[in-house]
Amino acid sequence: MSVDSSVQGIFAAFEAAAENPLASSRAWKAANGTPVVGSFPMHFPGELAHAAGCLPVILQENHEPITVGHGMIYPFYCGYTRSVVDQACKGDFDFLDAIMFGDHCVQVLGAADVVRAKLPNTRVHFYQLISSMSDPWSHSRARETFAGLKEGLEEMIGRTIDNDAIRASIRLFNRNRQLLRKLYDMRRSGTSPLTARQMQLAVKSSMVMDKAAHSALLERLIERLEATAATRQRGVRVYLSGHFCQAPKLGILDLIESCGGIVVDDDLYHGQRYISTDVDDAGDPLDALAKWYLERNLKVPCPTRVDQNADWETYLLGAMAKSKADGMIVLMAKFCEPHMYYYPEIKEAFEAKDVPHLLIETEHETTALEGIRTRVEAFLEMVKRQTIAKAAAAARLETGVV
């Protein structure tokens, strides 16, 4: 694939992969003969599939209306699970060589059942990762699960995957995460005025593209961006939180920024959550992956995991301070249980600390964004007026003028 190496050209390549992940991975398979392994989001170690010589692709919610899949899954399930079921029913996953499912919530479990029934000829590997993260046995149990995943892949390719190959894949994936984190740093510090849409395209394309090819694009992109003088962005600094399995609609991100917000950071799965943690590239790779799995949850706490040492709302308050965000917009997929379960705690903590936040519930079917626009605008106006008032009060204190 030859890519126009301008900033625009690179983002166009990211967009092509991110918005049509199945077509792009199918093309990769045709061109390179690489088997494609689809997985559910959140905790799948793509490194193992890559070391097995496969292209790991995280299955994405698409933009199609849910039709044939409608009767196969509850209508109140989240857009991600409903869309994945619909894609399976429409035969979109038929070209996949294998699917590896984790069970991070009840809804994803329901979706896995339907996908399995709809793809009787596709190799499906189901794994259950321990969700309690701070028990003495958490590490060994996670390692066992990853060993099982490795065996499943070995069975599929008919040979063993050696540790050196896994370590090489780990290094490749680490490099990719580091480059994406660098992009985040550039945005947070204002060195590069990247939009929320661009950040999502960069991360989402990494979930579905070959990592080496993706990193090569990222390297060129960062080079180009570093060579361009930054224009200072002006607006209300917004932290985006929420949306686990599906990427927020690009229209919502554009809307937030067109109303005068600049998204400076996030904890989205199609964002920081995906790239937060690297894997040790020395020693036993399965041990390293188990360690990664547990550490990742401390870096960006996941509401589908239980951890004595992690607290999502405390993390969010800290992350907001670090990125100097003025307010947080929570994007909650209807009806994502893990998110709904934690949201009241976030609300309480934010209210107690007087940190402004706005909840927006999203749906697969949301197309009219006007109703959201007024709320986002009102929120940004509120944050702006409050920030100014607080700054003025602080200035009064400093100068001693009462």
Binding site: G235, T374, A378, M382, Q386, I388, A392, A393
Partner: protein, 305 residues
């Protein structure tokens, strides 16, 4: 030529315009009963307000628009959402208010106000007309009573009938069924108002009930709506004298703030939150700083009590 500022609340069912002089005194206000299907309604209320004030549009040095059609108005220099403007207007009318309920044509909103008089939280009906002026209108039509008569009539209801549907269309079906059952118009209208109040209570609890609670918007002039809301919330609502113009007044007051700052900071379209740059507009509605003369020590925030 004496300068003035203008606030226009271009709603979905009515348009309101307020004109202020540079000391913040209201010189005119006008309400036109045409919504934002076209900008006719807004133009009518602007023209009426200008006529009352006896001034020309040229004398208006800054105009701010708000409401459903806020972005459709050419005369306005900038627009703000209804949340910001209603809060600003309500605080000007009732300075001690800590919460504002506004029932508009298309949406209803509940706004929490902090000690500085600023919006600290808000909730809006997200997806349909439940609990809005449009809901009332549709049901007035179903019952066959003119909108302005329905409030007083509903107040006379004694029975406890519930309308359970959230959706205006389904609620209309329920209303028709109740009438067919032989329930009187008065009783059915009582139930309609109780239904509106029930929706609003849900919104209030999303933000957390606070007092004093002010109600603005046209529906605040409907005694049955006020009665049922008070009953459902278990408190007394404060209804300012002209609740309908709160949004336009808020917009005009923001126009005034901005017109005053203009001299100091011409970058009015600049949305940067930057303390040093924006220190002149601390945003506190009762801030005394804008009145300060150039050489004076600027003191932001509300007047010390």
């Amino acid at each position: 030529m004496k300068p003035y500022v203008m606030g226009i609340d271009f709603g979905s069912t009515t348009s309101k315009t307020v004109i202020l002089d540079m000391d913040g005194g209201t010189v005119a206000s006008a309400v036109s009963h045409k919504g934002s299907v076209s900008d006719e309604g807004a133009k009518a209320s602007i023209a009426e307000a200008l006529a009352i004030a006896g001034i020309t549009q040229k004398q208006v040095i800054r105009a701010i628009s708000t409401g459903y059609g806020r972005r459709m108005l050419e005369v306005s220099d900038k627009s703000y959402t209804e949340i910001t403007c209603h809060a600003r207007g309500a605080i000007a009318m009732v300075p001690e208010a800590r919460m504002v309920i506004d029932i508009g044509g298309q949406d209803s909103k509940v706004i929490a106000i902090d000690a500085l008089g600023l919006v600290s939280q808000f909730a809006m009906n997200d997806r349909c007309a439940a609990g809005t002026g449009k809901f009332l209108e549709a049901l007035a039509r179903a019952v066959g009573v003119p909108l302005e008569d329905m409030g007083p009539m509903a107040l006379r209801a004694v029975e406890d009938i519930t309308i359970s549907s959230m959706c205006a269309t389904f609620a209309e079906t329920e209303v028709v069924a109740l009438l067919a059952e032989g329930k009187s118009k008065t009783e059915v209208l009582g139930a309609v108002h109780a239904a509106i109040a029930a929706r609003l209570v849900g919104l209030v609890s999303r933000v957390g009930k606070r007092e004093p609670l002010v109600m603005t918007g046209g529906v605040a002039q409907n005694p049955a709506a006020v009665h049922h809301l008070e009953k459902a919330l278990g408190l007394k609502l404060i209804i300012p004298q002209r609740p309908q113009i709160a949004g336009a007044l808020g917009a005009a007051l923001i126009a005034l703030d901005e017109a005053r700052e203009h001299a100091a900071d011409a970058a009015d379209e600049d949305d940067k939150v930057d303390a040093s740059l924006d220190a002149a507009r601390c945003g506190t509605p009762t801030c005394t700083a804008p009145q300060a003369r150039v050489t004076e020590q600027v003191i932001h925030g509300p007047r010390p009590h």
